[in-house]
């Protein structure tokens, strides 16, 4: 019998702590697929951030360093410069990357650090209970924007894939989603490409993945998935914003 679907070797055979319908798990799988694809599980050092994905080491069977909130790109810089032979990736949420850690991600990209940065945009602070994030959409209700995000007072959602693409140090910057089989396939490809950039020493590669947070959006899994299509993608357009050859 031919195996057409199996758990990637880089992913541990354990149940995750993610809420039902949360897409962090799906994204973890795509990252594990990429490590398997390039056969780099034994060379990879993951850098975890602070947010719902802090338990990276519980799910990926790789060496992991845990970074303070927002600082994963700085920690990964230290790791990759010290061990240039290893494969290094960061995995951050939108509070982590686009608020407290804006400076670290921008400068890591601008230095052209040769690691792979994964950015999970779920338009909210998941772990702390659903506060407004830098990516929260105009009008979106959250724990700290009970009347909806008021752009006059709260500013606008940040399109990080475009911001990162604008920097000369960035080699690759894309935005993908995992809300449909078609999008999942495209996301898998983009993540693989982002690893490939690193493995070929081509420099900083950034993948923004639109993701759902049913718990803090107050929706069931299906409705949350639908919201990615109807509300997020129109604001956060999918696409490749930088692809240095």
């Amino acid at each position: 019998m031919k195996t057409v679907f199996s758990r990637p070797a880089s992913l541990k055979d354990v149940a995750t702590h993610f809420c039902p319908g949360c897409q962090h798990g799906l994204i973890h799988r795509l990252v594990a697929d990429a490590m398997d694809h390039f056969g780099v599980q034994q060379q990879t050092i993951g850098v975890a951030s602070v947010g719902c994905s802090v338990f990276l080491y519980e799910y990926f069977d790789i060496d992991v360093v845990e970074a303070p909130h927002g600082r994963a790109p700085a920690v990964a810089t230290g790791v990759k410069r010290a061990r240039p032979e290893s494969c290094v990736f960061t995995y951050q949420g939108d509070g982590d990357l686009a608020a407290i850690g804006t400076s670290e991600i921008i400068h890591a990209a601008n230095r052209g650090e040769n690691f792979t940065a994964l950015f999970v945009n779920n338009t909210t602070y998941g772990m702390t209970g659903g506060q407004m994030a830098p990516t929260t959409l105009p009008g979106q209700r959250s724990l700290t924007s009970p009347e909806g995000r008021d752009v006059a007072l709260d500013g606008y959602p940040m399109r990080m894939a475009e911001v990162i693409a604008a920097l000369d140090g960035t080699a690759y910057s894309v935005r993908v989603a995992v809300n449909s089989p078609k999008n999942i396939l495209a996301a898998g490809k983009a993540i693989k490409k982002a690893f490939e950039y690193q493995l070929e020493n081509k420099g900083f590669a950034f993948v923004e993945v639109l993701s759902s947070c049913p718990t803090n959006w107050g929706m069931d899994a299906l409705a949350a998935n639908e919201r990615v299509e109807t509300e997020m993608i129109p604001y956060f357009n999918l696409g490749t914003f930088k692809e240095r050859s």
Partner: protein, 357 residues
């Protein structure tokens, strides 16, 4: 034979770090420590090491965390406001049991303050400026030679006890030039292998995880007891101090770093005047040389503590001396023109000498 050179204290730190095998430096510009990154930027790239002028002190301490997690000797240097920004990272390093050297060429504060020599970061360094209850090694050089030697010692202790080390000095010690003997360095053969360092799993089946999050029942308590035990062992084994004229002393003058330099001159003046004045200088601030103070105050009951601040180390001196010893304090808040002269300190010695007798 070892080589002698005339160098500034800051350069001696950089040279000591290179001698100790540190090949990764991460920093951000701030006076009065800028000679260190300038030197490192020139040397490290020649040696194939890493020099990064980061976007902030926050980024640089976290780069240090990353390089250290890989098992390499790594460092950062800064001055007071920058060290404040590094505190979260230092706490994470302590929680993650990571070694690493953080150099503070202290300036005066609070806030932007000034760039004058200051010892007002004693509390922040020794009592730890970050959150959560941890300890770091703290050394306080008082000469160019010690800037070099204690940099090397910091790396060794930091690796041995798996905790960050702070080197606390100021512009006086950092910028003065003295003869430096470049002693050859060999890695202590009994330093434990870094079997915790991330490398990628390579041949291993087990993961290596560098982290400070412990959510399991009882885990964090056990982790903290482990950190505490290490700090206790450090206290037991690694106290260092310099003593002079202690045997017949009727008054002991104490201070660390640059204040101790001035105090020592004042002590010599007192000796020349026939006064039985001793000198005791902590070299490690954590662990504080409690044993030396306890021993010295079995017979001498009068002390004078001198600091370039309104009094911080004096609290640890008071905790360490014999119960019937009296500890007077003299210091001035750091700022332009506030550096005490040897004559000023000699006058203080005269004021307190013979009081307890």
């Amino acid at each position: 034979m070892s080589e002698r050179q005339l160098v500034a204290g800051n350069i001696a730190v950089a040279m000591g770090a290179l001698a100790a095998g540190c090949r990764h430096y991460f920093g951000y510009p701030i006076t009065p420590q800028s000679d260190i990154p300038a030197y490192m930027s020139a040397e490290l790239r020649k040696l194939g090491g890493t020099f990064i002028q980061a976007e902030s002190e926050i980024a640089s301490i976290n780069m240090l965390l990353g390089a250290s997690a890989c098992g390499f000797r790594a460092m950062t240097s800064s001055s007071s406001p920058g060290i404040s920004l590094k505190q979260e990272g230092i706490s994470y390093m302590a929680g993650s049991e990571l070694p690493g050297l953080i150099v503070n060429i202290c300036r005066s504060g609070p806030g932007l303050g000034g760039i004058d020599a200051s010892q007002a970061d004693y509390f922040q360094s020794v009592k730890t400026g970050g959150h959560g209850g941890y300890r770091t090694i703290v050394v306080a050089p008082a000469s160019v030679q010690e800037m070099y030697d204690l940099t090397i010692l910091s790396f060794d202790l930091s690796d041995r006890y798996r905790m960050p080390a702070l080197l606390l000095a100021d512009s006086l010690v950092g910028q003065m030039k003295e003869a430096l003997e470049l002693k050859p360095y060999t890695l202590p053969s009994d330093l434990p292998a870094k079997e915790w360092a991330v490398t990628g799993k390579l041949w291993r089946s087990d993961q290596r995880i560098v982290k400070s999050l412990y959510l399991g029942e009882g885990e964090l308590e056990q982790h903290n007891w482990k950190l505490w035990r290490r700090a206790e062992e450090l206290k037991e084994k690694e106290q260092r101090s310099e003593g002079k004229y202690l045997d017949d002393a009727k008054l002991i003058v104490t201070g660390f770093g640059s204040a101790a330099r001035i105090a020592k001159t004042a002590v010599e003046m007192a000796r020349e005047a026939g006064m039985q004045v001793g000198f005791l200088r902590p070299i490690t601030l954590f662990p504080f040389p409690e044993k030396a103070f306890a021993e010295a105050t079995v017979s001498c009951k009068q002390l004078l503590c001198v600091e370039l601040s309104t009094g911080q180390m004096v609290e640890d001196v008071r905790l360490s001396v014999a119960r019937d010893a009296e500890v007077a304090f003299y210091g001035r808040p750091p700022g332009t023109g506030s550096l005490p002269t040897p004559e000023e300190l000699f006058a203080q010695i005269q004021k307190h000498y013979g009081k307890g007798a």
